[in-house]
């Protein structure tokens, strides 16, 4: 079947790109860039093909695309891929964002171009791997490998404090994933090392509700213990409140394209992990901890927003806004209702597009100003009057900003509304408080906008040029996505609803 290998094609296409980049001579930068672009375009096209062939009525994994090849048969480790309604939007998002990132890096990256594009493509492959993997071991491998390109991409091409940020990112994530690994192995042995012991799907369904483990002489519920482990692993990636401090550093220091990837795709892997792994495998514990998760999500929303308000570095501000927005996703997940979880998945997609826009825009601005201060450390205005100076830029910025604010008609609204609808059914107080997150969310963005774009033109700003054609070109797809899915979310919702529904009904039985 031609279709059945599609996932492998998508997964390995960027790897092909890496090979190609490596084989090219170092100084032929245009070749390298073009090759990377062609590669990502093909990949994106393949994801669209996947989307077209997607059977919306089928809940769970699409049987047409499943791949299962023994990898290490002795330990029942398989090369097992699959795609369902939850990973499908993420796949498209990944394909899209990487393509745009290549374009964005076209002029912004000036040193070690070959290595940069090779690592970027490697990263793409790993991200696809995470979203496709159905074998726990494979999942973990991709989850971890991704750290390596990220580490270098932040560390080599980042801002001033890049090393610190890169190491912090690495250590944080590594810490989380190690706990997850313990969980994975525990599951492997809890299911008697059978053929399906690494099969994420086969593990799902709450098979571990009765098991207990002994820690320091205390009997602890297996399911609760390892849910917490997995939770920490994924929560760091999201990032959920006490584990979020890597994010501002990583975002601020990373080059534009990497910030985009980080915020647009990588954060989603955390919540994707909840949906694919933590919730289906330990539904009882997820239910048990749902209040705690909801409170954490709430803290994320409010705390992230409040922190964002105080920032004077615009990129940091957006980074904190990501914390806040991912909090909504957590709220949706904690709700465990059809509306909430659908909203969460949609929010994952929508946040991916809107925050990517914001980071791209900041990157474009940075190309001109070489600083990112809203208010400089000496108290003077960093920008001011950008609206007058850069009209096109401003309009696109407004679209991105309002999308990220959740203005109805743009993408953020529907997902947030669904999340609220979902969470309200379970946690009234949290809903009430979280709604104020929307308020603060609007406040910090508008305040930032006011300080940067309104008023008379800063002398410094007068030298800036408006966006180039290339820059406009890679912003357009995101603008379209933000607007189209704001008005007509069905294309995304339809593919996810069957899978989400299945998950929610599983949760409902516990």
């Amino acid at each position: 079947m031609a279709g059945s290998n599609l996932l492998s094609w998508i997964l390995w296409m960027p790897m092909l790109g890496v090979l190609g980049v490596l084989l090219m001579p170092k100084d032929k930068t245009t070749w390298i860039k073009s090759w990377a672009l062609i590669n990502t375009v093909i990949t994106f096209a393949l994801t669209l093909v996947l989307y077209c062939k997607f059977d919306q009525t089928q809940a769970g994994m699409q049987s047409a695309f499943n791949v299962a090849i023994p990898w290490i048969a002795q330990f029942n480790i398989f090369y097992r891929l699959g795609v369902d309604g939850i990973s499908m939007p993420m796949t498209i998002l990944t394909g899209l964002l990487f393509m745009l990132c290549i374009l964005s890096s076209w002029t912004q990256i000036k040193k070690s171009i070959k290595a940069y594009f090779a690592l970027l493509l490697l990263l793409q492959s790993c991200v696809f791997g995470v979203f496709f993997a159905l074998d726990f071991f494979l999942f973990y491998v991709y989850w971890e490998v991704m750290l390596i390109p990220m580490f270098f991409l932040i560390g080599v091409w980042g801002g001033e404090n890049r090393e610190y940020a890169a190491v912090k990112f690495f250590l944080y994530t590594f810490f989380g994933s190690i706990l997850m690994l313990v969980g994975i192995v525990a599951l492997y042995f809890a299911t008697n090392q059978s053929v399906d012991s690494f099969n994420i799907l086969a593990l799902s369904g709450g098979k571990f509700t009765q098991l207990n483990v002994t820690i320091f002489g205390q009997a602890v519920s297996f399911s609760k213990l390892f849910f917490v482990f997995m939770f920490i692993g994924f929560a760091i990636k999201v990032p959920v409140f006490p584990f979020h401090t890597w994010l501002p550093h990583a975002h601020v220091q990373a080059p534009t394209a990497i910030s985009v990837i980080l915020a647009g795709v990588l954060l989603k892997m955390g919540t994707y992990g909840f949906l694919r792994i933590a919730f289906p495998i330990f539904p009882d514990s997820a239910k048990y901890f749902s209040t705690a998760i909801a409170w954490l999500g709430l803290i994320n929303v409010i705390y992230g927003a409040l922190c964002a308000m105080a920032q004077t570095d615009v990129k940091k501000l957006i980074a904190y806004s990501s914390v806040s927005h991912m909090g909504f996703v957590m709220l949706g997940l904690a709700a465990m209702t059809v509306e909430g979880v659908n909203g969460a998945v949609l929010q994952m997609f929508n946040h991916g597009t809107s925050t990517a826009m914001m980071f791209f825009m900041i990157g474009i601005l940075y190309e001109r100003s070489h600083h990112r201060w809203i208010v400089k450390p000496d108290g003077s205005r960093g920008y001011g009057g950008l609206y007058t100076q850069l009209p096109v830029y401003s309009i696109i910025f407004i679209i991105g900003m309002f999308a990220s604010m959740g203005l109805p008609g743009l993408s953020g609204f529907i997902s947030e509304a669904l999340i609220f609808l979902g969470i309200y059914q379970k946690f009234t107080t949290i809903t009430v408080l979280a709604l104020f997150g929307l308020l603060i969310g609007a406040a910090y963005l508008l305040w930032m906008f006011k300080r940067m774009f309104f008023g008379d033109v800063n002398p410094e700003v007068k030298e800036y040029n408006d966006m180039t054609k290339l820059e406009v070109a890679y912003m357009i797809p995101l603008c379209i996505a933000v607007i189209v899915f704001g008005v007509w979310p069905s294309p995304i919702l339809n593919i996810m609803k069957a899978s989400v529904g299945q998950l929610v009904s599983l949760m409902a039985t516990f």
């Binding site: 290490i72 002795q74 971890e144 250590l171 590594f174 810490f175 313990v182 192995v185 525990a186």
Partner: protein, 488 residues
């Protein structure tokens, strides 16, 4: 006269080969004048001899476990595999010493002789089946190591290293013997064979003697593998010794020590008894401490060699962790770990040694911007560092994964988590090198002579297994699986 006690000596050929090699080397060495610089025949002979040993061990593999020399020695696949690793390590170290500037040219022959001697000790340890052989093995390892550590005769630090090693080793050996003597007193035999059956029948009083004695006994082994708190000599010695010696110390004595620890554990503590619980508790604590102490101390180091020394302590701790679970999974895991550990250590030390030869010291800063000068080497070092950290899909990850899974299989969740968290801590200092190599600008543009084409090729070849074992580890695991067939 029937030489019963010499029966099956055919399986002892590898060791015999080594002894012959050692004597031969001494003879060849005698033919050189004192100030003769180029002593290539020593190296050629050594490598040929070692390869022959390697082949001989390979021939030995697959046979049934067999105790020879009246139960002095047991030849089984487990020990053979570890011996293979030790031989490989020795070959690599001998080659490293060939071009290393850290050893005086005129003493390189002695280095090779000592290395072969220590290897014999390691072999003895790996196969030891009674206390005497064990003691002999440990002492062979130790005494020759003292010499090796202080081989850089004009260097105070090297002498100091040897001195510390000797003093510490003496005390540890004494303590171990004291423990052994009481074990002998209780069990009435120095043989390992058949002891397992005696353990459950012991009286409480006997048990009360035996267990502390085992702790004392463990001091001797622990000192060899540098388990906490017997590790304290190791960073000093590793730092003070010439780099090839350090490399050698990081591989052969450690692996031999792990081998004997596994042997002891499987001999004395296979049967369920209060003693087994106590022993495993000891192993738990020691391995957790070893990993943690090794990692935590490694963080602040300025010298790469010293950092690697501490890191090797923590790796020993991780290998020990699998001891808490003696069974196929644990043994398999530790074997696999030893294999990957060999390659990772070798590559790391090769590169460190070459860099050190160029600059005269091995501070972290010397690695700055290596990627701009020797991209391949920097990439290989990076790969090794990530592998040591335990990032998939590199071999280091699979190795750690196996240990972890053996731990979890026997429900030692706490230790598993400690192991995991230690990986995170270790990531910090491993990343430090990576950070310097990749993210910093080079200090100078001078060429490093050590990175000739051949050496680079060798390093790359040694790195390859790290990749291959990381992805296609099934074969090697089955291989390790075979060797879990054990004595008893």
């Amino acid at each position: 006269m029937h030489l019963n006690y010499l029966a099956n000596i055919g399986r002892y050929i590898p060791e015999i080969l080594l002894v012959i090699l050692m004597v031969g080397l001494i003879l060849i060495e005698a033919t050189y004048k004192e100030d003769e610089k180029d002593r290539r025949y020593i190296f050629i002979t050594a490598i040929i001899g070692l390869v022959a040993t390697f082949v001989a061990i390979l021939f030995n593999m697959g046979g049934k476990p067999q105790a020879i020399f009246t139960n002095s020695i047991v030849i089984d696949d487990f020990s053979s595999l570890l011996k293979l690793i030790m031989v490989l390590g020795t070959i690599a170290v001998v080659y490293l010493s060939r071009f290393s500037k850290d050893i005086y040219e005129t003493l390189k022959t002695e280095f090779v002789i000592m290395a072969v001697g220590i290897l014999i000790g390691g072999f003895l340890l790996a196969s030891a089946n009674n206390m005497l052989t064990l003691y002999l093995g440990i002492e062979t390892l130790s005494i020759l190591s003292y010499v090796m550590a202080s081989l850089k005769k004009n260097d105070e630090r090297s002498s100091e290293a040897g001195l510390k090693y000797a003093l510490y080793g003496g005390v540890s050996a004494g303590i171990m013997l004291f423990g052994l003597s009481h074990i002998f007193g209780v069990l009435g035999t120095i043989q390992f064979t058949g002891v397992a059956a005696m353990i459950p029948n012991l009286t409480t009083v006997q048990m009360a003697i035996l267990m502390p004695s085992f702790v004392l006994f463990f001091a001797g082994i622990g000192y060899k593998i540098a388990a906490v708190p017997f590790h304290m000599w190791s960073p000093d010695v590793y730092e003070g010794s010439p780099t090839p010696v350090t490399t050698f110390f990081a591989i052969v004595p450690k692996i031999a020590g792990i081998a004997v620890l596994i042997r002891v554990t499987s001999v004395f503590f296979t049967v369920e008894s209060p003693m087994k619980v106590g022993w495993i508790g000891l192993m738990l604590v020691v391995s957790a401490l070893t990993m943690t102490v090794g990692n935590v101390t490694a963080i602040g180091q300025k010298s790469v060699k010293r950092m690697l020394a501490y890191s090797s302590i923590s790796h020993a701790g991780i290998m020990m962790a699998s001891l808490v679970m003696i069974g196929d999974v644990g043994i398999r895991a530790v074997l696999f770990y030893a294999i990957t550990y060999l390659f990772m250590t070798l590559v790391a030390f090769y590169i460190t040694s070459i860099v050190q030869d160029k600059y005269g010291n091995d501070h972290f800063d010397r690695f700055s911007g290596l990627i701009y000068r020797y991209p391949w080497m920097a990439v290989m070092m990076t790969v090794v560092m990530f592998s040591l950290t335990g990032i998939p899909p590199l071999a280091g990850f699979v190795a750690k994964y196996n240990i972890l899974s053996s731990l979890i299989n026997s429900k030692f969740y706490t230790l598993a988590v400690i192991l995991g968290l230690n990986s995170v801590v270790s990531a910090y200092y491993y990343l430090k090198i990576v950070r310097l190599m990749v993210l910093k600008q080079p200090e100078s543009e001078e060429a490093i002579e050590g990175f000739g084409f051949l050496n680079q090729m060798i390093i790359v070849v040694m790195t390859l297994p790290i990749f291959v074992l990381g992805i296609f580890w099934e074969t090697i695991m089955s291989f390790a699986n075979v060797s879990k067939l054990f004595i008893n």
